[in-house]
Amino acid sequence: MIAQMDIGQALGLYNYWVVIFLMMTGFYMVIARGNLIKTIIGLNIFQTSVVLLYVTMGKVKGGTAPIMPLDVGHGHGHGHDSHGHEEAPHHAADAADHTMLQHPLSGRVGEAEEGPASSVVDASGHFTGISEPSVQLTGFEDAAHSHADTAHQAAEAIYSNPLPSVLMLTAIVVGVATTALALALTVRIREEYGTIEEDEILEMDRTA
């Protein structure tokens, strides 16, 4: 299997390489270190590598966090919340409403004479930006079509698998508990022996 794997594939699996590297680092620390704190750190790294393993397997390419986007709730077609070029026709339709609102508004702001220029420019910028595609609207039905598709896609966006992440929340809690308990035991060992070097402790036990 590995023989068939080209370099691109091997690099594409870089998450798994990191997992294995972390796993082996942690494992080595647990085995090789006589200092209890270092052993516990190694154990932590070892456990963390598994968290990465799970999160990696839950990741879907191009997938996003499994949170329902806002416009799904608004239904299809109302592209107001999602700003895209294809959505311009509907923007134009919306903009028609906006002009009705903005005209009296900008007029009022202008009368108030408090920093009115920028808001007016903004409003006018809005107008120019929208008026262009609104001209195209009649000629380009495709654009309207593609817009409908995107709205659909927004509703059925690609999500990463949430389950491994949820499992890892549990595993992280377990890891925290393990670390806390290990550190508490280390404190007690130090109270009893005055050292946290495993060799010295075993030596003291042997002579005692």
Binding site: T178, R188, I189
Partner: protein, 496 residues
């Protein structure tokens, strides 16, 4: 009104789980003890009710929160898990009943309520590992039981107890994490965590390397928790320095639950065909268990601390259980399962007797136990009967399981395995005799001469367990019969 009977499986887990924090909130020594005791016996009653129901009307499937499996977590009580749940909860309850005087002496009074809470948590974890049909749940419950047992072990009076607990913690965490990696790989292959669902989706013939790696990780992970011979190093220290009650409870239950999980793994998920035909697990198991039996039993002979002696003997006895699994036959598997049960009773009883010695003599060194047979006759008699069970003398429970293992190893065409089992029993004779001789035929040590018999509160539960080892050595319907049913259930389930 919820149907009470249908909720029994979840109550078995929720009851001790909820009582543990209540114990912490209540505080107080007597109150929490009584509460923990009531709950432990309730759990036993529930598990007994479930077992009877399983025998009458087949496996119980409980869907937590009414979420249908494989989406929700499912609890399954079948012939095997019902049997294991029954004896684990029984030992949990009886050891707690026995333990009051011993706990009073060995554990600082201010920590008692925490002790009972942790004890209940440990019981929850062990029962949960047994009952759940969800693979990730197995990991969670394994960690609940492990973390609480690390804490329990560290309560030992010896200053070596925290180090023993930490060593166990490090190895135990590695084992549990291995299991977690294996579960992750299985999830990656099947997209589900429900054991039955995984078994249905897993293509064991074309699983390739991922399957193999998952299998290896999970097997090794459980081997560490089981204390199979080369991975046993945490066990002797943990058993020796833990408080007597904790040793009795953990020695009787914890390693057996891992054996149970291992059986589930092979028969419920990977199929025996993959484990034993595609992979040479049966030969590996036979080799490891026989080497383990011999080395651990030989090491037991040279121990001067009786607790440590019994700890090494436990490592050897785990070998017999794996031997049964490695024989790959209904008889062998049944022998392994019934040895789980019998050994739980025998080791539980022996460690309970040791707890009595520790209470009255203050030490469990062989030197200090000299002549205790005269001043503590009942405790010594209990130890002797338990020891005979450990050897496998006829009319004791140990004989039944060893007999089943012997006959099935002949049936499997492996007479050399049977021969080695017989020889290894001689080693057990040596180390048990060593203790018995010290108790009865040596000049009394100062401490033993001054000791008086253990209190009735400890002797009665001790004799209940010891009597059980004799009862189940004569009347085998319940132990061997149920184990046989469970083994047949696993084999037929695997063939489907």
């Amino acid at each position: 009104m919820i149907d009470f009977v249908s909720q029994l499986p979840i109550l078995m887990i929720v009851l001790p789980l909820v009582t543990a924090p209540i114990c912490v909130l209540l505080g107080g020594r007597q109150l929490t003890y009584i509460l923990a005791l009531i709950v432990a016996w309730c759990v036993f009653a529930i598990s007994l009710a479930c077992l009877i129901q399983v025998n009458q009307s087949g496996p119980i499937h409980y869907e937590i929160g009414n979420w249908k499996p494989p989406y929700g977590i499912e609890y399954v009580v079948d012939a095997l898990s019902g049997f294991v749940l029954m004896f684990v909860s029984f030992l949990g309850a009886i050891v707690l009943t026995y333990g009051k005087a011993s706990i009073d002496k060995e554990i600082p009074h201010s920590k008692h309520y925490l002790f009972y809470a942790t004890y209940l948590l440990c019981m929850t974890g062990l029962m949960g590992m047994c009952i759940t049909g969800d693979l990730f749940n197995v990991f969670v419950f394994l960690e609940i039981s492990s973390l609480s047992s690390y804490a329990l072990i560290s309560l030992g009076k010896s200053r070596r107890a925290p180090l023993a607990a930490l060593q166990y913690l490090i190895l135990g965490t590695i084992g549990a994490t291995f299991l977690l990696i294996g579960i992750g790989l299985l999830y990656q292959m099947t997209g589900t965590l429900n054991m039955a669902d995984i078994a249905g989706r897993l293509d064991v013939e074309n699983g390739g390397r991922t399957l193999l790696v998952a299998f290896a990780f999970m097997t090794i992970g459980l081997f560490i928790k089981m204390a199979v011979f080369p991975l046993h190093t945490w066990l002797p220290n943990a058993y020796t320095y833990a408080p007597s009650v904790v040793t009795a409870f953990i020695a009787a239950t914890a390693t057996k639950i891992s054996v149970y999980a291992f059986i589930r793994l092979i028969y419920g998920i990977f199929t025996p065909d993959f484990a034993f035909n595609t992979q040479p697990l049966d030969s590996a198991l036979l080799a490891m268990s026989l080497i383990g039996i011999f080395i651990a039993s030989a090491a037991a002979i040279y121990q001067s601390d009786v607790k440590r002696l019994l700890a090494y003997s436990s490592i050897g006895q785990i070998g017999y259980m794996l031997l049964g699994i490695g024989l790959v036959s209904v008889g062998g598997l049944a022998g392994g399962i019934v040895h789980m049960f019998n050994h739980a009773l025998i080791k539980g009883g022996l460690f309970m007797a040791i707890g009595c010695f520790a209470l009255r003599i203050g030490s469990v060194k062989l030197d200090d136990l000299r002549g205790a047979g005269k001043t503590m006759p009942w405790t010594s008699l209990a130890f002797t009967i338990g020891g005979l069970g450990l050897i496998g003398v006829p009319l004791t429970a140990g004989f039944i399981s060893k007999w089943m293992l012997l006959t099935s190893s002949f049936e499997a065409g492996r007479p050399q395995v049977a021969a080695m089992m017989l020889v290894s029993s001689l080693l057990a004779v040596v180390y048990v005799w060593k203790v018995v001789e010290t108790l009865y035929f040596a000049d009394p040590s100062d401490a033993a001469a001054k000791a008086k018999e253990a209190p009735m509160s400890m002797l009665v539960p001790l004799y209940v367990v010891i009597a059980a080892t004799v009862v189940f050595g004569v009347w085998t319907d319940w132990s061997a019969g149920l184990a046989q049913q469970a083994a047949e259930f696993l084999f037929t389930g695997a063939k489907q």
